[in-house]
């Protein structure tokens, strides 16, 4: 069995997902996880596929996607996940949403990412865009348990002051609470407490 991380980009057109997944199916592949978006007219997809019954090579996959998607002018990158390799260790922590808003200038994402990396905060999802002169960035980051959100906030605020940006650091539960109808979640270590019939 072999597994691959596959990314494909192209100018957006109808039918690219159909084409890419068809090529993988032809090779006996099964998609385990997939994320796709269109950004400023460009299609991008990243997925993990495994080939259990008929092991494929990296080059076979690249060729199959190119061949089936000739009309899309696809840019394809394939990375094999080595069998038995130790999973990469990433820092753990609580999931916070970091929002940065303000005037656009080159290097903002780089600067923010540097501030987080210096504190060991791991970015797990990030979306940034510029509309006119306005820059906005929303990211999910794992903040280590021994670090307070105030520490990250003051670091980002320090950066923000120098670049006319406002920065906000908020636990993800507030966004879950305000946008999802499921029961309100509080910190894992606190669950089970605070119920209205709790004795004290």
């Amino acid at each position: 069995m072999s597994s691959f991380i596959i990314s494909v980009t192209a100018a957006d057109r109808v039918g690219i997902v159909y084409s890419v997944t068809g090529a993988l199916l032809d090779l006996g592949g099964n998609v385990l996880e997939l994320s796709q978006t269109v950004m400023r007219g460009y299609f991008t997809i990243i997925l993990e596929a495994e080939f259990a019954s008929s092991p494929a090579t990296r080059q076979q996959i690249v060729d199959a996607i190119h061949e089936r998607g000739r009309r899309f002018d696809l840019q394809v990158q394939v990375t094999e996940i080595k069998d038995g390799a130790e999973p990469v260790q990433v820092p753990s922590g609580e999931r916070f949403i970091l929002t940065v808003l303000g005037d656009d200038s080159p290097g903002i994402v780089h600067g923010i990412a540097g501030s987080l990396a210096a504190h060991g905060a791991n970015i797990v999802d990030l979306h940034a865009r510029v509309d006119g002169e306005r820059f906005s960035l929303v990211m999910e980051a794992l903040i280590p348990h021994d670090l307070t959100p105030a520490a990250i906030r003051s670091e980002l605020e320090r950066y923000g002051r120098a670049h006319k940006l406002e920065a906000f650091v908020q636990h993800e539960n507030i966004f879950a609470a305000t946008t999802e109808p499921s029961p309100v979640r509080i910190g894992a270590a606190l669950r089970g407490q605070g119920d209205s019939v709790a004795s004290n």
Partner: protein
């Protein structure tokens, strides 16, 4: 990943539209503190407040930092002192009030409620003494708030207490003359008072509550106004009032959820019970944080004019529906406050002559909570104030809802002059009382207005 639009919408509610947690109110049962010795009683109260509320400030700060949402006030609501201090003299009651004031400062809460008597059917000697001591308490303490429940749908209205409270308001105002009678802003007179209201001045820790509980008062007039304005401005065609109600409901959902999240987290960190979210829309004097502005966004440009009551009814109902879907722990007053001096748009409507006391009374039939933060002429006689209280409480008693009165007879000032209370209490032009001075005989009859019939409800 949370959608960027959802993150920015929530952030916008906090940053631009003043969504905050108006109060984290810790309810504490004081029954175990009772003692025939006043020193022991005060010592026990102090120890119990510090035991439960000693970490309240620190925990609120932690939770604020975690979620990036302001917690504006921390407060304590206590078991009605009229019962806890039963058997004590007036001096004993004053010692309790001074203790509460001192401990509230020590644990850094801004107000402590519960200097309270529940006398809807009758009053004990202790409760009679407590009511008589209110002018002294309200004029000599800074943080102590009082409430008196004078009526309920089950019991009717205790008109003896109502009559006494007219004099209490007059004397309290006179003793705080230099502050435009501000002492009266710290007392609420209720019909059908709730046990778990977190908002001051009327919060107390009622029967059926646990030893200690965290109740939350959220606030979001600015958020609701922004949502209505946005709908009206950007809908492809003129939105119907049904569309507006739906918009308010979904906004109330978000506001309520913020309150529940903060309440559960604070309670869990303190190791005490979480009680309820009170989803009342509570205004502040800041422009953009006004219930009146919501009605204006709905199209009622002259607050107090025809349409005001219907618009307020729609708003109040939609808020409750959205909040009830958001949380199974909604309680307290949960409606829209029309606190006049605290609401810049309502205060302006008074200045313009559009909003009258009679219209306010009508509006309180469809919203929470009653005649709230209303300055009236200083020469209003005690019986007229009592009759005003009786009218408002009657609306609540007959309609099975909470109503309340917080009026301030401003010493030395007449209708149209300015009363200034400062801070969150705001300011307003003094409202005239139409046909004042003709109700003394009615009030002096005393006794009890019987409980209303619960059938034949039309």
């Amino acid at each position: 990943m949370h959608r960027t639009e959802d993150v920015l919408a929530t952030l916008s509610m906090i940053r631009q539209h003043k969504l905050d947690v108006r109060t984290v109110t810790m309810g504490i049962d004081l029954a175990p503190c009772s003692s025939p010795d006043v020193t022991t009683l005060c010592d026990r109260i102090r120890a119990r407040l510090i035991q439960y509320a000693g970490r309240l400030r620190a925990v609120c700060r932690e939770v604020e930092g975690r979620y990036g949402i302001p917690i504006v006030n921390r407060r304590i609501a206590l078991s009605p002192i009229g019962r806890v201090a039963a058997g004590h003299s007036t001096e004993g009651l004053l010692a309790v009030a001074r203790t509460l004031d001192a401990v509230a400062a020590e644990v850094e809460v801004d107000l402590v409620g519960g200097f309270t008597a529940l006398v809807q059917k009758g009053w004990t000697e202790a409760e009679r003494r407590l009511i008589a001591a209110l002018p002294e308490v309200l004029s000599t303490t800074k943080r102590v708030c009082s409430s008196v429940n004078v009526g309920s749908t089950a019991a009717g209205i205790n008109m003896d207490a109502v009559a006494a409270l007219g004099h209490v308001l007059k004397e309290t105002a006179e003793r705080t003359r230099d502050d435009d009678g501000f002492g009266c802003a710290k007392i609420v007179i209720f019909g059908n008072a709730t046990n778990d209201n977190p908002f001051m001045a009327g919060a107390f820790h009622g029967q059926g509550e646990p030893d200690c509980v965290i109740n939350i008062g959220v606030s979001g007039p600015g958020v609701v106004k922004a949502a209505v304005e946005d709908l009206v401005a950007h809908a492809p065609s003129r939105p119907t009032l049904g569309d507006i109600a739906e918009e308010i409901k979904s906004t109330a959902f978000r506001v309520t959820r913020v309150g529940e999240l903060i309440g559960r987290e604070v309670a869990a960190r303190l190791g005490v019970a979480f009680g309820i979210v009170d989803l009342s829309l509570a205004p502040t004097p800041q422009v953009g944080d006004s219930v009146g502005e919501i009605l204006q966004a709905m199209g009622v440009s002259r607050l107090g004019g025809p349409g005001s009551t219907a618009a307020l009814a729609l708003l109040n109902d939609a808020v409750k529906k959205g909040g009830s879907f958001a949380s199974s722990s909604v309680g307290g007053l949960s409606g829209a406050f029309v606190a006049v001096s605290e609401d810049s748009a309502l205060a302006k409507a008074v200045e313009a002559g559009d909003l009258t006391l009679a219209k306010l009374e009508a509006m309180t039939a469809v919203c929470s909570v009653g005649l709230d933060m209303i300055a009236v002429p200083g020469d209003t006689d005690a019986e007229t104030l009592s009759a005003l209280i009786a009218d408002e409480v009657a609306i609540g008693v007959i309609n099975h809802k909470t109503t309340a009165v917080r009026v301030i007879p401003v010493p030395g000032k007449k209708a149209g002059e300015r009363a200034v209370f400062g801070g969150l209490f705001g300011e307003m032009d003094i409202l005239p009382i139409h046909a004042a001075g003709g109700s003394a005989e009615f009030v002096r009859h005393g006794g009890r207005i019987p409980a209303p019939l619960s059938s034949l409800r039309n």
